[in-house]
Symmetry: C2
Subunit: 367 residues, 2 copies
């Protein structure tokens, strides 16, 4: 099975976002969860070559892996810091995203201990109620600014909960609250926009935008045509073809029954590879240029396709079957499983050979 | 995050199945997909110590990994063989599960080339229409037995499509067809039962049973109490606690709204860790002894819990939150995401530290 990752397209997507926010904001890259399953080290290397200098990861382990490959970039750690991880954060020159007064206190103590104004990012929640200082903690922080004085606050951020919902009032509510907080706490640069926020109007851009899924080809504005390039292509070799009769049933629980004579192709790809069981009877693949439906349940290591309409000459063992690519975009495929591109990408499994392509001409083309 | 895998319980489950089929059949272990996400090498080592000698994996890569750790066991490769993989199959002393006349021909050619009766397993499909020789190919094989003469057929198998459905006629249909095939092709040992088949009556056991999910704690007979021991425990440290007011909303898309004052706990675990997005607003966790509901959407790296009913003293940063364990079984948890234990286990991600425990007294207890 070949998972091909087009690094030129990631770079082109990065450049497209850079142009979109040009003049106002700079673009940091979100490479958490192993760059959404695509390989953090490889993705970061391509982005650094394209002059990206700031990266967001989820936790310390991810940060240490990225730091070992990139000595000079800024790395923000979204989970923040605890008293047990502070020493490692310092050692690897990482910037914690401080999500609570407790985390601020912990990082401030480290700063005092080392007599150094440690760089910090402060996360003020504006209504998502997931991480970040809530309204009560933010009010206390604004009333007691000494809490931050041992630190060098380089960035203050918040996170949009509904930026992909074009009709949501929550975007304006969060924007308004973030602006108010910025007036009361005008430290460092400001950042509000994830991928979807970057494609809202420029009021959401502030000083730093933080795209993730858009870099990897997901549509940041689902109500419009996708401006991003597809990054991922996934093909698996055809394992077996069989003839079936009318009445023959396929797979676990016999959930598909043939109403006519036909042909079934089996492909060695299943939910252990992140090809969700919820694709059962509701996904598609390409055999050559023919789009064919997935039939029956997805198994752990296998899927079955109705290839009755494919010419026998195209149905040979080893024939490449595409399940993700330019014809089957990450958004469209994810939708078939009732989920979003983010989960589809992050679930891409370990049994694939990840192959990276970098095409300079394509990248230039997009500039 | 700690993913604890109790190898004693895997061994106890293996022994329970051995006892169930005692006298009639031997038990091979299905360790494909990295032993359902739990670690093929570690699981196989524990099972070999418990005298298991036969293993099933999905493909050549998995087989080579297992062979490098276990020199003397029998390894069956479910995907079978192609002309390009035959040499490696031979080199690593693997037994392909031959799924088609084309695969039989390919392995027979290798046997002739090396002037050696190569061990083989033949898969006759009995109605699943996924892999294995279909009715047409099986008829041809029976009419032309010379096709197998260069080989040493050690096992003939088929696979049940609906063994977990107690009312399905398909079980009896497949059993009847497999018996007929065995009369016409009485080579080697016979195997029909997966985990669920092993817990149907003994007519389904034949010479070899092939449990997978039951070894790892999944219920092989969902209409009855689960006789298997739970194997997996997954805990993550509490990252943050916040107070919320009536009307406050949580997470992406603001899908949960508080109807009273309360508390939200955030835990650094998300769909990038295989904790499916379909758990959004429909899963549970334990904070100490209190069962709490997951609220809002599952994010890539985070989940949010309603901990309003948990005492403040139990809500400290780093407190262990259990999302899978003896109180939250793999079947129950999988069901909350609309899936089965197999997918839940196989999707367990790479950001966990896998910790193996082996408790000799517990194992003895179960004997």
């Amino acid at each position: 099975m070949n998972l091909t990752i087009n690094l030129s397209h990631i770079v082109a997507n990065y450049q497209l976002i850079n142009e979109r926010v040009a003049g106002g904001a700079r673009t940091a890259a979100v490479v958490k969860a192993n760059a959404y399953g695509l390989g953090c080290v490889e993705v970061a290397k391509a982005l650094v070559a394209a002059h990206c200098r700031e990266f967001f990861v989820a936790n310390l382990d991810e940060a240490v892996e990225l730091r070992s490959a990139q000595k000079d970039v800024t790395i923000y750690v979204l989970d923040g810091v605890t008293c047990t991880t502070a020493a490692a954060m310092l050692e690897h020159n990482l910037i914690p995203v401080l999500n609570s007064l407790e985390q601020i206190s912990c990082w401030a103590k480290s700063a005092e201990l080392h007599q150094k104004a440690l760089a910090a990012c402060v996360h003020l929640d504006t209504g998502m109620n997931r991480t970040g200082l809530g309204a009560d903690e933010t009010a206390l922080l604004i009333a007691e600014p000494w809490r931050l004085s041992p630190l060098n606050v380089v960035l203050v951020l918040s996170h949009l909960a509904s930026a992909d919902l074009v009709d949501s009032n929550q975007n304006l509510e969060q924007l308004s609250l973030f602006r108010k907080y910025r007036q009361q706490l005008p430290l460092g640069a400001a950042s509000l926009a994830n991928s979807a926020g970057t494609f809202l109007d420029s009021a959401y851009h502030f000083d730093v935008v933080r795209p993730g899924v858009a870099l990897y080809g997901g549509n940041p504005a689902p109500h419009k045509a996708n401006p991003m390039r597809q990054v991922v292509s996934l093909t698996a070799p055809l394992l077996q073809v069989r003839n079936v009769d009318r009445g023959d049933r396929v797979g676990y629980g016999a959930t598909h029954e043939f109403s006519r004579k036909g042909k079934v192709a089996t492909v060695p790809l299943g939910y252990a590879d992140g090809f969700f069981r919820s694709f059962s009877n509701s996904a598609f693949a390409y055999v050559g240029s023919v789009k064919v439906p997935l039939i029956g349940r997805v198994s752990m290591d296998l899927i079955t396709l109705d290839v009755s309409d494919v010419a026998d000459s195209a149905l040979y063992v080893g024939a490449p079957v595409e399940v993700l690519g330019t014809q089957l975009t990450v958004d469209e495929v994810a939708h078939n499983a009732g989920t979003i591109a983010h989960e589809l990408l992050a679930a891409l499994g370990n049994r694939y050979k990840r192959c990276y392509v970098y095409n300079r001409s394509e990248q230039t083309q997009n500039k």
